[in-house]
């Protein structure tokens, strides 16, 4: 089958991928949700996330779990991969990273509901698992957000 390059995507299908090693939200790209009348979950799991401690410069590692209910726009996964790699030399606390990613994705897609969970590897015997969540303000999705916020750790999602 012949490979076709979609002009809407600069990363997906490109024969020469450029990797950025400094925070680069401009890498994120979207495509249109063709089932906007439906409510459905999209889960994106990234278990190679890495950034730096802003104080010691030591590397941090995490599995990131992004769950969302799409509205019109959906994030293109290769652009998401490149965006997440761009944190490699970024010095930020775990809580800041998760909130920053959540806000970038919310701004990009305006989803009905979105949550970003960071399962960071332990440092000094303590592992930090921040969760960002937001909704589009509609009653149905506010209710989902409230329920999931209150029940955050009852059924933790697992990878692998």
């Amino acid at each position: 089958m012949k490979k076709t390059k979609n002009p809407n995507f600069s990363a997906l299908g490109s024969s020469s991928t450029q990797y950025k090693y400094e925070y680069a939200p401009e890498l994120l790209e979207t495509f249109e949700n063709k089932h906007q009348e439906e409510d459905y979950w999209v889960a994106l799991n990234a278990d190679e996330f890495t950034s730096l401690c802003p104080i010691t410069n030591q590397p941090d590692f995490a599995t990131l779990i992004i769950n969302y209910i799409p509205s019109v726009k959906m994030v293109e996964s290769k652009s998401l991969k490149l965006y997440l790699f761009s944190f490699i030399n970024n010095g930020e606390f775990h809580e800041e990273v998760v909130n920053k990613i959540g806000k970038d994705l919310a701004k990009l897609m305006s989803p009905k509901y979105l949550e970003v969970i960071g399962l960071f590897y332990p440092r000094g015997n303590v592992s930090i698992h921040p969760t960002f969540s937001c909704d589009n303000g509609e009653k149905k999705y506010k209710k989902i957000a409230k329920h999931r916020f209150a029940n955050r750790n009852l059924n933790p999602q697992r990878i692998g």
């Binding site: 991928t17 990797y19 190679e48 790699f85 590897y121 933790p156 990878i159 692998g160």
Partner: protein
């Protein structure tokens, strides 16, 4: 890179592992992997803090994925005298292909469960 030497009993079977190995592939893409090191001591090992700093330094360096086990093997071998040194790196899948590379003495790495997940 120089590691400080630590004196230990001879013929101790020593294994180290780290799920936090990161380096840059030839394309510039970051590669994640789990590192396993095994050897029998000749009365010495290396300082683990120095070893951690060395592993951290690899995230700025570029390698063919197949050469990463040799890089770590040769650095250890330059720093301490050991017997039966072996290095294995399990890399995260790329394009659906899982890759394991090893150098030196073969051994069976013991995998630990994910320590950061809730039980």
């Amino acid at each position: 890179m120089t590691f400080r030497k630590i004196k230990i009993k001879e013929n101790s079977n020593v294994s180290y592992s780290s799920p936090e190995l990161l380096f840059l592939g030839e394309s510039g893409q970051p590669y994640r992997g789990t590192l396993y090191v095994s050897f029998r001591s000749q009365e010495e090992t290396f300082d683990l803090r120095d070893f951690k700093k060395y592993l951290t330094s690899l995230r700025q360096r570029t390698f063919n994925a197949e050469d990463i086990a040799y890089e770590i093997f040769s650095t250890i071998a330059k720093n301490i005298s050991v017997k039966k040194l072996g290095v294995i790196v399990d890399l995260s899948a790329r394009g659906g292909i899982q890759q394991r590379v090893g150098f030196g003495t073969e051994f069976a790495p013991i995998k630990k469960a994910n320590i950061f997940q809730l039980g």
